[in-house]
């Protein structure tokens, strides 16, 4: 019998690299449980791999902004209902609107196109490793490597002047914090929107050889639509890969046998990236959908209007799908993990992220084979206070 367990979303970790253990207990007991939301709504919590794929592949579960609910308070407040997505902000839309925008971008993020970027990305990685060496040991990996590499890559792709990134980065930081009020988060988001809107206006006048200019030249989109698509790509391109690079390095350093295997056989790095994506699932509170109609799921009926949290961190640790799920194993077949999501909203930039991570981890441990933590592991500040998990800083030493 499912649907009898009532819970709030577990958010308390007992170890820094594992999801809250309560999620595992819930998955074992009831992979589809009732979830109490911050606004009083009684929705659902999905924690198994199988149900995660089922819900995310089912378009009767909507991702429209105005139907979303938040499982917990943010900044001590219940988050008010949200307005519909702005034109171009397609992550918060359903088909056919979502399809229209995403199709204009998918051709830019294909496996082949991203492979063509590999030499440039490897160059960017190499430049930052040189800068780390010049800085000397110890150094904080986050501002010297993990953040600037993906930041520079997405800025080049989109055509964002890299000099402008400091202000932008500060606002992204504010936006993803959970201890700010929702108004403060929205204010930070508004400043990012202004920044990109201004950039789009300039590109309308003098286009460059970049993605934002390309979208403008397609003739199918307004400036506002291009700006909102740009905001989405810029935020997504910055935070996710940056955090994976930093916490992925921390994780490998904490699992020396696994790191040794990757160093001994650099061809393992591709699979190590998939395994780190599975193991860490940095979208730490999973993703959310709302049923558009009554849907039968695991013997229950999810009613129209019911919201569902899909815990991708729990799904990626499901023992029915992954043997010894709580062990990091760079040899395991990790493909099929839901670290990039599943369904029509699965990460658009995932092929770019893969190449950045392969080049990033590969380059880092080739250049600094004796890289180690410069502080005790328990002193590494974890991003428990952010919607995207990771480390706030990672002091490392090398010879």
């Amino acid at each position: 019998m499912t649907g009898t367990l009532r819970t709030t979303l577990p958010t308390t970790r007992s170890t820094p690299l594992d999801p809250p253990p309560e999620l595992g207990r819930i998955r074992e007991q009831e992979p589809l449980a009732r979830l109490e939301y911050a606004d009083g709504h009684l929705g659902w919590l999905v924690t198994s791999y199988e149900l995660t794929r089922e819900v995310l592949a089912d378009n009767r579960f909507s991702n429209r902004a105005e139907l979303q609910r938040f499982p917990f308070e943010i900044g001590g407040q219940v988050v008010p209902p949200q307005p519909p997505a702005k034109p171009g902000m397609f992550i918060s839309m359903d088909p056919p609107d979502h399809t229209k925008y995403r199709r204009l971008l998918t051709g830019q993020f294909t496996v082949r196109r991203m492979n063509l970027l590999r030499p440039r990305i490897e160059r960017i990685v190499a430049d930052h490793l040189v800068a780390m060496r010049e800085h000397g040991s110890p150094v904080d990996l986050v501002p010297t490597f993990a953040r600037p590499v993906p930041s520079l890559v997405i800025c080049e792709i989109l055509g964002v002047p890299y000099e402008d990134r400091a202000e932008f980065q500060q606002n992204t930081d504010r936006m993803l914090r959970l201890d700010r009020t929702f108004d403060e988060i929205m204010a930070a988001f508004a400043r990012i929107e202004e920044f990109v809107a201004d950039l789009v206006r300039r590109k309308r006048v003098s286009p460059g050889d970049d993605m934002l200019s390309g979208l403008l030249e397609s003739g199918e989109l307004t400036d506002e639509e291009v700006a909102n698509m740009g905001v989405l790509l810029l935020v997504a391109g910055h935070e996710t890969t940056a955090n994976m690079l930093a916490i992925g390095t921390f994780t490998l350093l904490r699992n020396p046998d696994q790191l040794a295997a990757v160093k001994a056989d650099p061809s393992l790095v591709d699979n190590a990236v998939e395994e780190l994506m599975r193991f860490l699932t940095i979208i730490q509170f999973g993703t959310s959908r709302t049923a558009l109609e009554d849907v039968e799921l695991a013997g229950q009926v999810v009613r129209a209007g019911d919201s569902v949290i899909i815990s991708t961190p729990a799904a990626n640790r499901d023992p029915h799908r992954f043997e010894r799920p709580d062990e990091l194993d760079v040899h395991r077949p990790a493909s099929g993990h839901v670290g990039f999501g599943h369904g029509i909203h699965q990460c658009l930039g995932q092929q770019l992220a893969r190449i950045e991570m392969r080049a990033g981890f590969g380059g880092l441990f080739r250049e600094f084979p004796d890289l180690e933590l410069a502080v005790p592991a328990e002193e590494v500040p974890m991003r428990t206070d952010m919607s995207i998990y990771g480390v706030h800083s990672l002091p490392v030493a090398f010879s």
């Binding site: 592949a57 199709r103 204009l104 998918t106 993020f109 496996v111 082949r112 369904g343």
Partner: protein
Amino acid sequence: MRIEVDPDRCAGAGMCALTDSDVFDQDEVDGTVVLLTPSPSEEHHRSAREAAHLCPAGAIRVVE
């Protein structure tokens, strides 16, 4: 083995082309699935099944 693809359903995530680039490719313009080999040889059967399983949008069907 016969493979069927549905570009209308495709989300352009590229999992198929990543999994077996001899069997699947992506359209240059919109990134949707392009089937290179509708009846692949046996050595590709496993990866073709894997690609169908990985496809986030259910756009690939393998008929054995």
